[in-house]
Structures are given as structure tokens and as C-alpha cells.
């Protein structure tokens, strides 16, 4: 008889606790909503972010294992791939973004600075010193495409010379015939090319 009574009592107490926790949770959420709606909240957040505390918090976060965990999760959940897929799916948007980026004066200034900088000269100098570059140049120079192009260029020049010889020989034909006709007192042919 005692055991069922104790059991009922415990059950009642558990329910009462659960109901109290539920009420407390709802009250806390209502308080949070009121806090978020408060006009002082924004100001408070701004002040926190502007304070050295925010700097230190970010520093602690970056020094700690959080970054590693984020990186692992980015890889695990293929975050980058999903973002890339979203970007690639909208080609028009990509073109617009890239176009506006390239047209911006900032990019132009950066490009001008890179070109004028000593860095570019150094890169070119180092590149010219590398053996691989000249091996690649040799490979390209001996490639069938390049040799064919040079051959065609030479043939084109030879054709030009031959063409000039042909044109001049035609003129010489006409001149020679005029002279022959004059010497032999024969009627001249109508003049032309």
C-alpha cells in the first residue's frame, strides 16, 4: 500500500517540476524578446563591440581550437562546394560581380601599382633565370605549329617576290612589244597594263 502512494507522490512532484521549468523557460524567452526589442540593446551591443573586450574575445577565439573546429566543419559539410555551386548556378550574377569588380577604379589602381612595383621586375628576372623557362621556349619553338607558321611565312614572302616578278615581267612584255612595233614600223597595239 505504501509503495503506490510513494510512486504517485514522485510522479506528481516530477510533473510539478516540469511545469515549473516550462513556465520559467517561457518567462525567460519573453524576457529575452523584451530585451531584444529594447532600444537600449543595440546601443549595448555597439558598446560591447567597440570595447577592448570584443578584441580580446576575438583574439581568444582565434587562438583557441574554435578555428580548427570551424575548418573541420567547413570541410565536413562541404560548405565551400555548396557556396561555389550556388555562385556558379547564377552565371549572370557572377558576370555582373566580376564585371563591376574589373571596372572599378580600385582594381585599376592595384593593377597599375603591381605593374610599377619592383615585385614584377623581380618576378620577371627570376623567371628568366630559370632553366625550365628556356626548356619550355625550346619546346614551343620546335613545335610543329610554330615551324609550320614560320614555313608559311617564308612561303608567303616567296610568293610575294614571285608575284612582283610576274607583274614586272608583264610590264616588260608590253614595253618590249611597243619597242619592236616601233622599230619595225608596225601599227602600235592599244596601250594597257
Amino acid at each position: 500500500m505504501t509503495v503506490p502512494v510513494v510512486g504517485s507522490g514522485l510522479n506528481l512532484a516530477r510533473r510539478a517540476t516540469s511545469a515549473a521549468a516550462d513556465v520559467a523557460g517561457r518567462a525567460a524567452l519573453a524576457g529575452l524578446d523584451a530585451l531584444l526589442d529594447s532600444e537600449f540593446t543595440d546601443e549595448a551591443v555597439k558598446r560591447v563591440l567597440a570595447s577592448p573586450v570584443a578584441d580580446r574575445a576575438v583574439g581568444h577565439a582565434l587562438r583557441g581550437p574554435l578555428v580548427d573546429a570551424i575548418a573541420r566543419d567547413i570541410t565536413r559539410y562541404a560548405v565551400l562546394e555548396r557556396v561555389a555551386d550556388e555562385l556558379v548556378a547564377d552565371e549572370a550574377e557572377i558576370e555582373r560581380v566580376v564585371g563591376s569588380a574589373l571596372e572599378s577604379p580600385v582594381v585599376e589602381r592595384v593593377a597599375a601599382q603591381v605593374i610599377e612595383s619592383r615585385l614584377l621586375d623581380t618576378i620577371v628576372e627570376r623567371l628568366l633565370e630559370t632553366e625550365e623557362l628556356w626548356l619550355m621556349v625550346d619546346e614551343i619553338a620546335h613545335s610543329p605549329a610554330v615551324t609550320d607558321a614560320i614555313g608559311q611565312q617564308s612561303m608567303g614572302f616567296a610568293d610575294q617576290v614571285a608575284g612582283q616578278v610576274r607583274v614586272r615581267s608583264q610590264r616588260a612584255d608590253a614595253r618590249l612589244e611597243r619597242v619592236a612595233h616601233r622599230l619595225l614600223r608596225r601599227p602600235q597595239r592599244p596601250t594597257g597594263g
Binding site: 610576274r166 616588260a172 612584255d173 608590253a174 619595225l184 597595239r189 597594263g193
Partner: protein, 179 residues
Amino acid sequence: MTEAESSPAYAGAVTRALAFAVDAAIVDLTGIFVGVVVGLALSVLKTPDKVDHVLLAIGAVAFVVWTIAYFVGFWSSTGQTPGNRLMHIRVRSSSDEGLLRPRWAFLRLVGLGLAALPLLLGFLPMLLTERRRGLQDLLGRSVVVYVGAQAASLMEPSSRPASRALTTASAREDAPSLR
């Protein structure tokens, strides 16, 4: 199509001389090369003088045969020697647009030699006749015409050469003096 549009543009003496010079260079250089090779070989073999004379005679005959084969072969097969091809001209029958038959090509070659004998006077008709035919053309029943872009440029009224205008009467015989 009018007669003027259909008649070809005949090649003149200078153009044909240049083409022939190229051919002569090819024939001669080939002959010289073969002669030098054979001569060098014989210099090692130490052959008797009589044999050398016989080989010399054979070489001379071979050179003549080579020359005949070169010109007759090209004129009767394509109408264009390499020199003709360079100058964009072609040898063809005077009666139609066909190629020369080998016997007429051979006669044309003989005519070339005959035309050169009397101080090149055999070539004079090329300067005077409407179809620019020399003695060799008369013997070989041939004419020499421009081909390809060269002919096309001569067919244009603005660039038509002097002789071109007179070639419209291509069916007529050549100069009366040659009859």
C-alpha cells in the same frame, strides 16, 4: 559569254624567257650534279681513257634525253614546267584548250632550238603576233597563256594589257609575215 570574255590572255616574251631561264637552271644544275657525282666516282675507279670517252658520250646523250624528257614530259602532261608554274603560265594546244600531244611537244622543243639559231630571230614573232606565238609555237601548234590569278587580273578591263585586247581574234592566223 562574249568572245572577248572567253579568249585567254597570252603570255609575253619576257615572262616566258624568265620561265625558261628557271627551267634551264633546273635542267643544267641537275646535269651538273649528276656529272660531278659520276666524275668523282670515276676518279676513284681509275678507268681507261677510252672508257672515259665512251662514258662522256653516254653522259652527253643522257643529258639530251633528260632535257627532252623534262620539257616534253611537262608540256604534254600538265602544260607547266616548274618555271611556267612559277610565272603562272601554261603551254596548251593552239586549236583547243587541251594539252599538247608528246609529238607536238617534241616539235616545240626542236622549234625552240631552231628559233635560237638565227640570232634569236625565231622568237621575234612573239613580239609582233596577236597570240604571241614564236617559231616554236608555230611548229608545236601551241600557245602560252596565263593561268590562275595572273589570268584573272589580265581579264579585268582596267588592267588588260596591250596584247590582250588583240587576242580576241584568236581564231585568226598569226602575222602575215609568218605565213
